[in-house]
């Protein structure tokens, strides 16, 4: 604020240019290497590889991007990394085998799925206090909190359900049966629609949040690929409401779905066994982790094509972009 007083037009110009000087970075968790790779999105190169806990899978940032949360599954903890010092500053009591998690819009409450224990654990990231543990189905996996903060959703891979949790009471309010092995859930920006991918079922269920019923089921078809190999995992919705991108696992493609008509418009070829994705800030690029090829594909959204692949660690799992 004080700087404002001494601002000259030139200084303002430099400040405006600052975001491009300070490149966006992507963070990738490498499940089999116990590391997180950092990619500079200007040079498209890995600039750093950080040692973290065992079997890192789900990763996410605090709202202000100062902290990185890491599900260190085999260390049975969620680690908190200070992004300035790149040091682990805290380990949260996550329950056993944390796999995926979601941060409540309040920036404090972390909803964690405990894959081995059929539980969802809710932790206050400031006090490290466990607020609640909720019984869900076998192998809880996908986690999401609605943007309005009212509902948390978890999927259980072997029970094949979407479990709906009230974020004020921490109670289970409903369950929706979906196709085999639900992996990932994603809310629309207005919190009205939930997308849930079923890896073995080969479908994405689109669910009305109000009545918690499936109103559309999307399936996929890629020429030359056996239907059994089309296994939807990650889902990412674009902010403009136009697209849903669905990572199709061992089919090595990402489906481009029209988020209004639910028709599949295109398939983008990426690396082998594609799982999770994230956009850069202006959403001109989409990054995907490819487990078997051990790389990250960079997709140019204007061309709907992968333009670059970046080698990272072994079995990259999650990817998130810091502006």
């Amino acid at each position: 604020m004080k700087i404002k007083n001494i601002l000259t037009p030139i200084a303002a110009g430099i400040l405006l240019a600052a975001p491009t000087l300070h490149a966006e970075t992507a963070y990738v968790s490498n499940e089999k290497d116990d590391t997180v790779s950092i990619i500079d999105l200007d040079t498209m190169k890995v600039t750093d590889t950080l040692n973290v806990g065992e079997r890192p899978r789900g990763i996410l940032f605090s709202k202000d991007y100062t902290k990185l949360y890491i599900c260190a599954s085999d260390s049975d903890t969620v680690q908190v990394m200070d992004l300035k010092t790149k040091l682990i500053i805290k380990e949260l009591p996550s329950g056993e085998d944390p796999e995926q998690f979601a941060l409540h819009p309040n920036d404090r409450h972390l909803y964690i799925s405990n894959e081995d224990d059929a539980l969802v654990t809710i932790v206050d990231t400031e006090t490290s206090e466990v607020l609640a543990q909720i019984d869900v189905g076998v192998e809880p996996e996908g986690m999401a909190v609605s943007p309005d903060g009212k509902i948390a959703v978890n999927t259980s891979e072997t029970t094949n359900m979407v479990h709906w949790i009230d974020t004020t009471t921490y109670q289970l309010i409903d369950n929706t049966l979906v196709d085999q092995r639900p992996r990932h859930v994603e809310f629309s920006k207005d919190s009205k629609i939930l997308w849930a991918s079923s890896e073995i079922g080969g479908t994405v269920s689109v669910i009305n949040v109000n009545d918690r019923k499936i109103f559309k089921k999307i399936s996929f078809k890629i020429k030359g690929v056996h239907p059994d190999k089309i296994q939807p995992v990650g889902v990412k919705l674009s902010d403009d409401g136009r697209y849903a991108f669905v990572a199709l696992g061992p089919s090595n493609h990402i489906a481009v779905v029209n988020a209004n008509t639910y028709e599949v418009e295109d398939y983008i070829l990426v690396g082998r066994r594609v799982w999770h994705m994230d956009f850069n800030e202006d959403q001109s690029l989409l990054l995907s982790t490819n487990g078997i090829s051990g790389d990250v594909s960079v997709i140019d959204i204007s061309k709907m094509k992968a333009i670059k692949s970046i080698k990272v660690g072994r079995y990259p799992w999650g990817v998130i972009v810091k502006p």
Partner: protein
């Protein structure tokens, strides 16, 4: 602080939950698990014996998994398990269970005992074969109320032969043990060799009775002396002499079959496709590694539970027709959805090829194509069998 307001909401939530769930009635599913304890006789390689509860623990885990799911739907699963060395006792138990209303039977026995059990109960009982790999049951006997979750010997050997073909290990020396099961295993391999174009250049019968723990290094090279072979195939299902073939062959060649690189239903080294989670749940339950028999029993009960979950019914007729319909799919931690072949009730599944410390490959191998489903390149395809009575 705000605890009071929380509590009112909580009560409201419970009321809502009760209201929605009272609409659907409770469903009880009872499953009978019958295991025959088989004495394989004394074997030379007796250092690492098979666990006695192989199969049972898989069934128990499946019940646990299904109940975790079931509590959200008010479905409850119960396992009644019986282990005995005598087929007559198992038969008695099966009849008793049937009279008490049980219609789902998971059977881990020999081929003969399985047939005896099926014949003794009315046709509305549904059986899962989780123990016998006999090809005969899938090609000729073909009982309409029988499904198989354990792969046949042909499925296993097709998986192995595809890999040998891919690796260009074409010339095979075969060594077969003296038991009928070993001969059946060899017969399945010969069929696979013919299907996938491998050449059997020598066939040997194992009939020695020396203690190989002392003399393998002397006996085995002579026994495997032959001008040229790419690979040695061993058929020794009970593990009598097979372990001593490795590293003792005349020519330094890989060993495959029941020892060495083996095609299996399941093994601890399978960890992809979420299998790591199944493995750790199993270890927590039983303090040992999950094996093929455990997996077959697990898959059988999970199939019943999947049908009950989707149909909301627990009668054997509905469950059976759902399992045999196109809608059925089972997530079995093998990277593909599993379903049953309509022509002989066999569960289609990828076959892991393992050695005791790692997964080497998983069949079907790439490039072995099938007009409908590549998994059907493993085992008997529809056209190869005559099971006309299966849909009765």
């Amino acid at each position: 602080m705000q605890f009071n307001s929380k509590r009112t909401k909580l009560t409201a939530a419970i009321l809502l939950w009760a209201a929605t769930s009272s609409a659907s009635a409770n469903i009880e599913v009872e499953i009978s698990y019958l295991q025959q304890e088989i004495d394989n006789g004394p074997v030379l390689s007796n250092i690492l014996p098979e666990p006695k509860d192989a199969g049972l623990k898989g069934a128990e885990l499946a019940i646990q998994d299904s109940n975790t799911t079931g509590r959200f739907l008010k479905h409850n699963y119960q396992l009644n398990s019986f282990l005995s060395g005598s087929p007559e006792q198992l038969l008695e138990k099966a009849q008793e269970q049937y009279t008490q209303g049980v219609r789902f039977f998971v059977v881990n026995t020999t081929e003969q005992t399985l047939q005896l059990l099926i014949k003794s109960l009315a046709k509305d009982a549904l059986f899962f074969n989780a123990g016998s790999s006999a090809d005969q049951l899938r090609t000729k006997t073909c009982l309409p109320n029988l499904l198989h979750t354990i792969p046949s010997r042909s499925m296993l050997n097709d998986g192995l032969a595809q890999w040998l073909k891919t690796k260009r290990l074409q010339k095979v020396m075969m060594i077969t043990g003296s038991e009928p099961n070993d001969k059946a295993y060899s017969a399945a391999f010969k069929r696979a060799a013919k299907r996938f174009g491998l050449k059997i250049i020598a066939e040997k019968q194992w009939s020695f009775d020396t203690d190989l723990r002392r003399t393998a290094q002397k006996e085995m090279p002579l026994f495997t002396q032959h001008r040229d072979y790419d690979v040695v195939f061993v058929a020794d299902e009970r593990g009598d002499f097979g372990e001593y073939v490795l590293y003792n062959t005349w020519l330094p060649r890989p060993v495959v079959g029941t020892q060495g690189l083996s095609p299996v239903t399941w093994h601890r080294v399978v960890e992809q496709h979420g299998a790591a989670q199944l493995q750790s749940r199993f270890e927590k339950l039983s303090n040992r590694w999950m094996n093929s028999k455990d997996y077959a029993s697990w898959a059988a009960i999970r199939s019943v539970a999947e049908a009950v979950t989707r149909t909301n019914k627990n009668d054997a007729t509905t469950v059976k027709s759902y399992i045999r319909s196109e809608a059925f799919e089972l997530a079995g931690f093998k990277g593909r959805k599993l379903s049953y072949r309509e022509w002989n009730g066999q569960l289609r599944q990828p076959i892991p090829l393992i050695h005791p410390r790692s997964l080497v490959s998983q069949s079907p191998q790439e490039g072995f194509l099938h007009p409908k489903n590549e998994l059907d390149t493993l085992g008997f395809d529809q056209k190869e069998i005559n099971c006309s009575n299966i849909n009765k």
